[in-house]
Amino acid sequence: PALLAAFQARIDAGEKIEPKEWMPEGYRKTLIRQIGQHAHSEIVGQLPEGNWITRAPTLERKAILLAKVQDEAGHGLYLYCAAETLGVSRDELTEALLSGKMKYSSIFNYPTLTWADMGAVGWLVDGAAIMNQVPLQRTSFGPYARAMVRICKEESFHQRQGYDIMMKMARGTPEQKAMAQDALNRFWYPSLMMFGPSDKDSVHSAQSMAWKIKMNTNDELRQKFVDQTVPQAEYLGLTIPDPAVKWNEEKGGYDFSEPDWTEFFEVIKGNGPCNAERIEARQKAWEDGAWFRDGLMAHAAKQRTAQVAAE
């Protein structure tokens, strides 16, 4: 308990906790779950955008999208490394993802159906992700905070690229405009869900906030996201698919409707439009790649043996 108090005091003083230092088991476990889930989201998040790389409409757009998906894989790598400092290997985390024991962000269980979705994903999904992640640059665990700094920089670049695609679509031909509006319609509520259900009564959340693993409530972040996004949609000439959206002078933010939390829990349970396909794609990649990973390991072992023999 003295250790615990000292730990909490360091956190309260704004110090960073580093991997080799003492930490409560709950802190470690919560971080592993949170960082692992974030890493998995980056990995699975390659798939909905990867779905359009081969159909990108120009060479420039193809290159931008490739670079973006490459960044996501890179984010996954930073985050798995951050998790490894807590004593869990990348392979263990991967097995947990593939067996369904660990989750990834539900947003990636929605399909990308038109090119405008590449805009909507960048604008809304990355936008919501940044909203979640910017405060995490100040999180108490050092490796996680540092990974977040790099990630946020790239994500905000992605968000601008997504908005740029939306702009082109919204100001393009009538079909393009229709695609843009349709993409907004489909991604609006799932984006709001990305902040999670209201957490005012959750003890779990309170502990995470005390530990500075979680920096804001879900509702605060959601409100911030809506306040940022509504004027952007107006600028694009697109309509938020929620008639309740209205500026509320009193609270200094927009009113808006809650997403359908039944759908949210269905998707978490595995009943989103693409859950089965996303996890199958990752399982297949992992299984098909076994011979490749084994081959590299066998070669490395041979090299070591040869080196030992030579010494």
Partner: protein
Amino acid sequence: MSVALDLDVALFEGLCRLGDSTLVLGHRVSEWCGHAPVLEEDIALANVALDLIGQTQMWLGLAGEVEGKGRDADALAFRRDVWDFRNLLLVERPNGDFGQTLMRQFLFDAWHQPMLKALEGSGDPRIAAIAAKAGREVAYHLERSADLVIRLGDGTAESHTRMQSALDRLWPYTGEMMMADDTDRALAEAGIMPAPDSIRPQWEALVTEVLSEATLKTPDQGFMHKGGKQGTHSEHLGHMLATMQWLQRAYPDATW
């Protein structure tokens, strides 16, 4: 005058051969996105695809300029049908397993790298400049693909078998890189592009060395497929273009 004109036609062809090959290979590599056997490979493949698409923009951009009919790189990439494509047959081979993808990459990189080196000495400064830029990227591609071929060839029994089988399948598509036709000869005589068979010694030296270190057997089959450089492709290219060109074809008036 008529000679200059013919040379421009040959130059357009030659540039399409380079740009279509990087485009088609870049597309194939990008098909892996999110499906690679390890995360590092997801990153590496995206990186290779990205480089190849960037090179496509330069080669086809220049091709459009040389042609002078107002077609830019996108018009060439997204609005031509199969018979106008000039890529090597090797690069349109389907991905197969990861071993086939890697072996295809290595066999191509081992040609691409010395080819770009030679193109740096082109009498056309625009070509020399593109080749210099692309060459730096491709040196890394070759380093990676050669290294992986060696490690997998000399890995487990299964990885060895897979790499050997990939090599045997792809081998008959390598000859086309070093085969010359009138276009190649015209460009070589004009000092604009190297003669294809001038690349062979370096290609062979590199391939022999890497395959030997990988404990793989160079196929002794002598037959070589050809036709890609002249626009006669396999059935695979049409399917690729249906995917690649879909949006441009469906919405010809849109800008993106």
